[in-house]
């Protein structure tokens, strides 16, 4: 375990950079997508009209793909570990979901110890990976093959793209609330968005199973 004034390193530099790139691209994509899909003048005008908003959307989409793709290529083992973590659902994760991690006041009960990512974050990770793949698989035909694909397929792509984007926007809003605003967990914000470190005490409480593995390595 790396210790700097009672903190542990939770997210490496490249992970934080990728998260920033993905976040900024996502915000631009959401904003421009809403703007030109619903033809909302004031949003479109921020980008110089619907056509330009669409152009920004498409190139932000390229960043949205290339950013994580580069990260995965350069940090394949780390990404594989991340995928392994979020796809490993244990009894403790089920226990976390039953109590919703203690975030919901009327859901009482002991919150079981969690991995580096709690069950909620695991669900979010899966939603984001699957959602991003669906956005990519539908978005690029809408851009590059719009002239050649059948109209019904294009309409299908738009529907999937729209609903996946809506779910992702809601999921990311929830993620932002818990990671940046909620008093119980907002310390996570600095860990991912600034220096990568989190208070060891908080980590030992929120991510006990992962924290214990770090201590074991030290010992």
């Amino acid at each position: 375990m790396s210790e700097v004034r009672g903190k542990v390193l939770k997210h490496g530099e490249q992970t934080r950079t990728m998260h920033w790139v993905h976040l900024v691209a996502f915000i631009i994509l959401a904003l421009t997508g809403i703007g030109f899909y619903f033809n909302i003048g004031f949003i479109n005008n921020m980008f110089g009209g619907g056509a330009n908003a669409s152009m920004v959307h498409r190139w932000a989409g390229v960043v949205f793909v290339v950013g994580p793709a580069l990260y995965i290529l350069l940090n394949f083992e780390r990404f594989a570990r991340f995928v392994d973590t979020i796809t490993t659902i244990t009894k403790d994760d089920i226990g976390w979901l039953k109590t919703m991690g203690g975030y919901i006041p009327f859901l009482k009960g002991e919150v079981p110890p969690q991995d580096k990512y709690n069950a909620g974050q695991k669900m979010l990770g899966l939603i984001i990976i699957i959602g991003c793949l669906l956005l990519i698989l539908t978005g690029f035909p809408m851009w590059l093959w719009r002239a050649v694909v059948p109209p019904a397929f294009l309409a299908f792509c738009y529907s999937v793209h729209f609903w996946v984007a809506a779910i992702l926007i809601l999921a990311v809003c929830g993620h932002f609330f818990l990671a940046a605003i909620h008093p119980k967990s907002r310390v996570e914000f600095a860990s991912m968005m600034i220096d990568g470190y989190i208070d060891a005490e908080i980590s030992a409480h929120h991510n006990e199973k992962w924290f214990n593995t770090l201590e074991e390595v030290k010992e």
């Binding site: 056509a51 719009r146 019904a152 738009y158």
Partner: protein, 395 residues
Amino acid sequence: MEEGNGLSTATLANTGIIQVTKKCKSCDHCTSICPTGAIHGKLGQKHHIDPKLCINCGQCLINCPFGAITDTSMVKEVKKALADPSKYVVVQEAPAVRVALGEEFGMDPGTNVKGKMYASLRKLGFDKVYDTEFAADLTIMEEGTELIHRVFKAVGAPGYESSGPLPQFTSCCPAWIKYAEDHYPAILPNLSSAKSPQQMFGAVAKTYVAEKLGVKPADMVSVSVMPCTAKKYECNRPEMIASGYQDVDYVITTRELADMIKEKGIDFNSLPNEEADRLVGASTGAATIFGVTGGVMEAALRTAYELLSGQSLGKVEFKSVRGQKPIREATVEIPIKDLGTTLPVKVCVVTGTKYVGRVIEDVLAGRSSYHFIEVMNCPGGCINGGGQPIRRDMY
């Protein structure tokens, strides 16, 4: 035009027949469909149609993924005429309608519902239910004869000096006609002078038929059911007034007829098979194939062959001019009885106006060796017209 359906030529020129609605999702699919570049707008930007460039074919309409493109409707006017006892309402239906209408009632594409279609039109209240096939026969006789005259002029036969030049282009497709007028006015002398079947029927209805039925042309309302949105523009052309009144007052599409049948609560699938009214109801097989690319050409060739050679073709079919390739050509050896020689007639079939430019430029530059060229705007012919049921296949 002052009389008729109230849609003046000036209004149609300003608004066009086809419009993009507010439902447009800016997907930009339509710009790749439009054969004339009439649709303006980039990806992410609401699109609009320039009525001056639009040839009203409606291909963008049936291919819009979101159903955000619409055509000017004359259904309200048709219903008003049907409800007016002082009006005598006659209707004609194009060959391509009967094999598509069933799709709107859950039948397989291509099911011929001719008999049920006639029955449903009578239930809707039309006084006479005729069929465009008769007029398609008239068209093909006109076009075939005109082709012969042009061929005779080209070989120097006396008496045909006033005939038009070769090659002869077909003139049945109103989208193609507007395209030629807008983009290649120099080619107009090469277009057949024959009216389309719809307009021939309209002219016959308000002259010959009106006289036979004892109905004043002023009291007759002529409606056509077409697979085509450009026919709505065609019926409003100011020159289409053979009786002094608009030849065809209103055009409704296959889709609109299906909507009227559903709205009236008619159980289409249970309807008996009826026949068209017979006064001008007789027709040949030549008319039936008008609705498919190469069909007009085949019918014209068969007519020309018989007229020129004096021989019946029997069951021979010019299958080489059918098919789906955008440009197809064939050479047909036709023995000409009057000249005592055999003439190789070279024909070309173009399906899709976007492909016709090169063919026209060859003709204008004197490089073309064709004698007869069929042009239909819609891929595959009228069967895939802009007024047909909208398919939502994923492949």
